[in-house]
Symmetry: C2
Subunit: 239 residues, 2 copies
């Protein structure tokens, strides 16, 4: 792998060596995380390995460990970089429910924008990296501004985060192939299962596989936000 593009060769020295910096670019934590995210974007989470990241930076896997500790930490950093793309809301008590929904949709869109990165999000339970915590902080501020009591807001942010990551992960696994193609496969499968054992599933097959744009996501979103409003004594403009 490295022998295909030798580092101490002609072009390498000619191009980059002069300024006194190390050969090539100096391989920082930041460059590693960016390379990793690039791999996730183009090849998916399963392709993300330490060797693959090393290759992306024209080096080996071992070199990365001077900057990241281990793979889990690298994945956390990649996820955090993605979270930094999520635009936050300035809490407006009058429109808190719509703000929650917007923030949720935006989180979903950002995650979906990076292939199946949501797989990492569903594993990373509690937000603990800076930008993940920014999102949680923002959500809490919106919920509290909406008038929800402390405990409801606390449980709420957890519930909403759970919903976003789980539902997005689900969606990302399905859009690996065409979404319609997946729907057809499931429908075909439902046609093969015994009707007497699964009368509901077989008779409701089309409803179960229905998947117009974000309808499914919005369905749960409505329920959650309305539920939080009722539960926590928030400002409730008829939901």
């Amino acid at each position: 792998m490295t022998s295909a593009a030798p580092r101490s060769s002609w072009s390498g020295q000619w191009q980059e060596k002069e300024k006194g910096g190390s050969r090539r670019q100096p391989l920082t934590r930041e460059r590693i995380v960016e390379a990793a995210l690039r791999i996730v974007d183009t090849e998916g989470m399963d392709a993300l390995s330490m060797r693959r990241v090393g290759q992306e930076l024209d080096t080996g896997a071992a070199s990365l460990y001077a900057h990241v500790g281990n793979k889990e930490e690298l994945v956390d950093l990649v996820l955090d970089l993605a979270y930094s793309e999520i635009e936050l809301e300035r809490p407006d008590p009058a429109a808190w429910q719509e703000q929650v929904k917007r923030l949720m949709r935006r989180s979903r869109d950002v995650l979906l924008g990076h292939r199946d990165l949501a797989k990492a999000a569903v594993v990373a339970n509690v937000p603990r990296t800076p930008h993940a915590m920014d999102v949680a902080e923002n959500m809490l501020a919106i919920l509290r501004a909406g008038g929800l009591d402390e405990q409801t807001a606390a449980y709420g942010v957890d519930l909403l985060g759970l919903y976003t990551t789980a539902t997005t992960f689900e969606a990302s696994t399905r859009s690996g192939g065409n979404s319609q193609e997946f729907t057809d496969q499931v429908l075909a499968y439902f046609g093969t299962i015994p009707v007497d054992r699964y009368p509901m599933i077989t008779s409701m097959a089309v409803a179960l596989t229905r998947n117009v744009w974000g309808e499914r996501f919005e369905f749960g979103l409505d329920i959650l936000v309305a539920g939080l409003a009722r539960q926590g004594g928030g400002t409730d403009p008829a939901a």
Copy 2:
């Protein structure tokens, strides 16, 4: 590994060879799945490897592939075996909301009874194995008996399944160590983050980490069931 307990040796022949069956027990799909579940129960999902299962049955990993295809299929079978433990409900229109909750709690309890098996459940998106579909079928029957319209029931069973698996997976990762210990760790961490950047998180730390028995789970459960009732025109005894 096998050389530690040679198969064609004394005790092996003496004990088991006579009945005309193959040496030892005949290594069926069922025995493999049971062994795998046993490993998950005692050592967790991360310890579940083909070689480990082979070892559990005094054989090698290669021998398993005559019965299971690949590891993914094996995990599906293990998960399905666990799902078979979930006791179902005979739909009662008058008590559908409580029935939904009972089924959810039981699913959660069964999954939690097998260490972090929920990790497999969160990956296995749509129920497609027999017993997983039994649970889905039962849930659909309950929702429909409760008067929910078809599409709400269809989205609902998906949403409820998502909630169960995601929340159970979350819980299983936390109870790896003591639950209180985990809470303390998070609380301690929240004490180190900058207050000016995370005013909400820092001030609400105790509410965020609150974790009395199943309160957190019940919180989301109430919201979801009540939301489905309102959304789908179900029998609504004041939720």
